[in-house]
């Protein structure tokens, strides 16, 4: 009998022992869901960290007395430095506008009682949110916020030191600050995640393997008579094992896919719970390749476990 036919028979035979099959499926699904949840957390933490902090950001201050044409030339040069992700520049005027916007946002708007036009104009004059008086004596220097993606393979710290020296050396630059601690924290997080991911995945594979292997062992106990009879009439090991192997593969695949549905459900729920003030955490679902990897890993591990469990 051909291998494919044997495997099909193994799958068809699954209905003969519905309860242990169902229990295995639920268990595989739960373990895969657990692993998926881990992946989901890692993925979202990483996304969040990358989004907010993994860039090197330099705030460059020129002296207030700098020649603006010269400074603007330097800005244009900055944009061409390799690795630059973004350059936001502020002329003294723009900086002032930004500052005023910030200040007025921070001060709650007074609740003015409805009144006629005259009193309205009056209110504007004494509006505490009006910082236009600052404008006359602008003491703010031209500044630039330069964000870099640190080139791959570079250690962040020395690289930032060199970039600092370079920016500090620009003509007219008075002060440069950068986000060293935050960046260290972020890269630390990512390194931790990347280091934790492999042992965690290994652990997951082991648990799925043990669970499927043991459940199949139990099921083989239920099919002990059949295995005994097959061996008595001269079945080769593969004839006995192929159906069980197919059984394990189907269990792994079904459990993996089912767990993805559960995970999607969990993610939607988390999103609705966490995307509220003050968190505004948009929990994302796993990228396609990770979903695929999860199902594939579960399938492979379950198949392997079944294969080993089916050995005498």
């Amino acid at each position: 009998m051909s291998t494919s036919k044997l495997m099909l028979r193994g799958v068809a035979d699954m209905v003969r022992h519905p309860l242990p099959q169902l229990l295995t499926l639920v268990t595989v699904c739960m373990v895969a869901l657990l692993a998926g949840t881990g992946l989901l957390i890692l993925h979202n933490v990483q996304a969040e960290v990358l989004k907010t902090q993994a860039q090197a950001r330099f705030q460059v201050y020129w002296s207030a007395s700098s020649n603006m044409t010269e400074v603007e030339g330097q800005w244009a040069d900055l944009k061409r430095v390799p690795g630059v992700a973004e350059v936001s520049t502020f002329t003294p005027r723009a900086a002032m506008a930004e500052l005023m916007r910030g200040l007025s946002a921070a001060t709650p708007a007074p609740v003015a009682p409805p009144a006629d036009n005259a009193s309205m104009a009056n209110a504007t004059a004494s509006n505490p949110n009006d910082f236009s008086w600052l404008e006359g004596e602008n003491i703010l220097p031209p500044t630039a916020l330069v964000s870099f993606d640190i080139p791959a393979g570079e250690a962040p710290e020395p690289w930032m030191g060199r970039m600092y020296a370079r920016l500090r050396g620009l003509a007219g630059v008075e002060k440069v600050t950068y986000n060293a601690t935050q960046l260290n924290l972020a890269t630390g997080w990512i390194a931790l995640i990347q280091h934790a991911a492999w042992p965690a995945l290994g652990f997951f594979a082991l648990v799925v393997g043990l669970v499927v292997g043991n459940t199949l062992k139990l099921m083989m106990l239920a099919r002990k008579d059949e295995v005994e009879i097959l061996s008595l009439v001269g079945a080769r090991p593969w004839f006995i094992r192929a159906p069980l192997f197919a059984n394990g593969v189907v269990q792994g695949f079904a459990g993996g896919v089912l767990s993805l549905f559960c995970l999607k459900f969990l993610q939607s729920w988390l999103k609705s719970v966490l995307d509220v003030p003050p968190l505004f955490l948009k929990v994302q679902f796993l990228p396609a390749w990770q979903c695929l990897a999860l199902v594939l890993a579960t399938t492979c591990v379950a198949g392997l476990a079944a294969f080993i469990a089916a050995r005498k």
């Binding site: 059949e226 009879i229 009439v233 001269g234 004839f239 005498k312």
Partner: protein, 235 residues
Amino acid sequence: MVHLDHINCILGGAHALTDVSLHVERGEFVFLTGPSGAGKTTLLRVLYGDLKPKNGAATVAGVDLMRLKSSGLPALRRKVAVVFQDFKVLPERTVFENISIALEVRGVPTASIDRRVRAVIRALDLEERSYAPCRELSGGEQQRVAIARSMVVNPELILADEPTGNLDSDLSRHLIELFKQFNTYGTTVIMATHNRDVLSWAPEARQVHIVRGQVTLPTAEVLSGAESVAARRGA
């Protein structure tokens, strides 16, 4: 067909077979007799490769049992069919499936399986139950399924361990006739039994008496119990 020379088997610390020698030629019909616990089942287990002798020399159907590895077991089992007292049929599968399984593991083409299984089912008078699951069958019918499964593959040697132990006298006789018929076509049969009637139904068969794990020599044989009855009826 069977050549055992001075084999010893130890089970659970005790000698289950002691210095057993047995030679059975192709086409013979042999009864293994002896009291309960004598070692009949143990000897049969040796013959189908379920138990390895501790020492001695053992060859069955051309297979050297002393050097048999687990990878060689299927080859032996394809030449040697076994029938048990407790049938060992799969209750959830049909009569047809239970019998065809022996051909399937040998990779016999489906059409050929169909033909051969039908023929055996007819010979054993199971036609009406062909597609009934075996759990719905009586003990006698289940035993016939087990015998059908062993016969359908045309084995060189059939080992039967108390195949009639659970059956009434009429049915037992019918089954022994089947074994005899099969034996006349050339299959060697070795059957363990302590049923005197069974022995009397095949008087021409050789009897090998086992007591406490040892084959007792005919000269030293104390004719008693089963043997004496058989001897009287055979004479």
